[in-house]
């Protein structure tokens, strides 16, 4: 049997108010159902290339987004659909992007790995492991120089903590005391390699000590814990006290990408994690607190499903870019 170590909160985790909980639940369902649909579309050849889904990890993006303010910025990875939706990207813009349509968030020029929407602070998902961290440091530099009070968040995986850009970014952010929160989504695998093959420490948060910044290991499956731990880091950052490294323990239910079926998982691991599903955990709390019942939950789920299905139907009708779009958006002309 696989036993999951649940990190204990380092701050007091008070229940979020019912509206915030409901918003988080809806958001997580939207992410979940969008991702399921994307997988379906990918297998049906409606989406080309590759796609990296975040099913199982919705608690992290949703919990973090719930603690952000307007003006805050985010960079993330190719596994970025959850972050984009949590920040407020429309399912339509996302699906259209994935289909390479002009009405996609990046006019079809980004694709699954590059979800970007400046208007919601999403500065870009990145397909090069680690490359989004320096960019987030730069966004924090702007916030710091312009005294906007904004923070910069960057999401990355466990395996990304082995690349040079991770190290350099944490160091630079610390030296310049910039308002960046480094959020590691430790889903235990980098592609097909379990963490311990590539990374000689178990809790990645220990790496924060190299930069003299706080490092916290967080239960990434409990959206309220994520919210609470993140909030403390955000407040430090907004107060000019510099960066924090948060390691969110989480799990991806699907393969790394495309058709990976996850043969590398120990038996039982997936099931054990599913018992700590972020949607389930919040649902159970809300039911226990009398804020939700199974019927209502079913309705929320159905609504999300319809919403996603509508977006897909809409996106299918949208136009593709044409030759006129080939050389645009490379340089700003003016």
């Amino acid at each position: 049997m696989v036993v999951i170590n649940i990190p204990q909160p380092t701050v007091s985790v008070t229940p979020l108010d019912v509206d915030t909980r409901m918003t988080a639940l809806r958001k997580m369902l939207e992410i979940r159902l969008t991702e399921e649909k994307i997988q379906e579309m990918f297998l049906a050849n409606l989406i080309r290339g590759t796609t990296h889904l975040c099913i199982g990890q919705e608690g992290v993006s949703t919990g973090v987004a719930s603690a952000l303010r307007k003006g805050d910025t985010v960079t993330c990875t190719y596994r970025g659909h959850g972050h984009a939706l949590a920040l407020g990207m429309s399912v339509k813009a996302m699906i259209a992007e994935m289909m390479g349509k002009t009405s996609g968030c990046c006019k079809g020029k980004g694709g699954s790995m590059h979800m970007t929407d400046a208007s919601i602070g999403l500065l870009g998902a990145n397909a090069i492991v680690g490359a989004q961290l320096p960019i987030a440091v730069g966004a924090a530099l702007t916030a710091s120089m312009k005294n906007t009070g904004a923070i910069s968040v960057t999401f990355f995986g466990d395996a990304a903590t082995n690349i040079g850009a991770f190290h350099e970014s944490l160091n630079l952010a610390s030296v310049w005391k910039l308002p960046v929160i480094f959020v590691c989504e430790n889903n235990r695998y980098g592609e097909y390699s379990p963490q311990h093959w590539t990374t000689p420490v178990e809790n990645l948060s220990v790496r924060a000590a190299s930069y003299n910044i706080p490092g916290v290991t967080v239960d990434g499956q409990d959206v309220e814990t994520v919210h609470a731990e993140f909030k403390v880091a955000a407040e430090r950052a907004r107060a000019g006290e510099g960066p924090t490294f948060l390691e969110m323990k989480t799990y991806r239910y699907l393969g790394h990408s495309r058709t990976d079926t996850g043969p590398y998982r120990p038996p039982g691991e997936l099931d054990a994690w599913k018992e700590r599903d972020p949607i389930l955990l919040l649902k159970v709390k809300m039911i226990a607190d009398g804020q939700l019942d199974e019927v209502e939950f079913g309705e929320l789920r159905d609504a999300a499903e319809r919403h996603v299905a509508e977006a897909v139907e809409w996106a299918k009708q949208e136009p593709y870019p044409t030759e006129a779009d080939l050389l645009t958006d490379i340089f700003y002309e003016g």
Binding site: G100, I128, N162, G190, S193
Partner: protein, 326 residues
Amino acid sequence: MPVLTYREAVRNALADEMRADENVVFFGEDVAAAGGVFKTTPGLQEEFGSKRVRDTPISEEAFIGAALGAAITGLRPVAELMFADFIPVAMDQIVNQIAKYRYMSGGQFMVPLTIRSAQGGGVGFGTQHSQTAENWLLNTPGLKIVLPGTPVDAYGLLRGAIRENNPVIVLEHKGLYNLKGEVPDDTGVLELGKAKVVRAGRHVTVVGAQLMVHRALEAAETLAKDGIEVEVIDLRTLAPLDTATVLESIKKTGRLVVVEEAPHTSSWGGDLASLAADEGIYYLDAPVKRVNMGRAMFAYSEPLETLAIPSVERITAAIRETAYTQ
């Protein structure tokens, strides 16, 4: 005659060299237990053990540099950079260290090192996972650069690369992994640096590599119906460049079209045009044409990606224009 996919040819070449020389070691991200993201290396770890075939952390600068350190101390490492777009992540080790290590030491070291990577577009991987990489590297002396375009070349050239006592970058084309072709049983090590005339013709010389050669061959087929006899040259190795074979052909046809799956600027296509404009100039009967991506990027959206990469139609049109110029 045995038919293999390009993917299988890569695997067999690596396996055969590992059997032949115990100093050959192989590592990269997810190449060992999982057999590579493009499934080019399944079963190697089983056969050669987890010391000779290793998965690495995501740290390209470190493991490419480690390949260099291993090469100068007695191993013959083969390192995989999953996508050629990651070459920039390890660029310092490649252009400042690997390429220069023998030279800077005054010839003290051999650097028998191979880096394999998958490049090229057409499969919808987007702007950061589709690029061709050779032009980042070609201006740096000290590297050999190989671009196999068929299963038999993938097999023979990879073996040749691994046997080389110099650093070789083998850029496989990810759009060709499923391509099938004959790999005769006696295919051994192919010599690097030799272009191949893959179709003989009298009227126009077309030069390219990998996917572009296949498209050029299609174009040649079409044009043959109109009586235009196209000579198609597959460069196969870009450094050192087999200018003799190209020049020979120019002398015969007097017309040159260079086809590249890359932007127009600062690429090997310019060097071939430059060859024609210098040594070849008295043979030229028409302007030298280049078909490439111009100023476009590899795009995600299918119609854009299709427009960006030279198509059979664009290649055909350029050859036709060149052929009919007086």
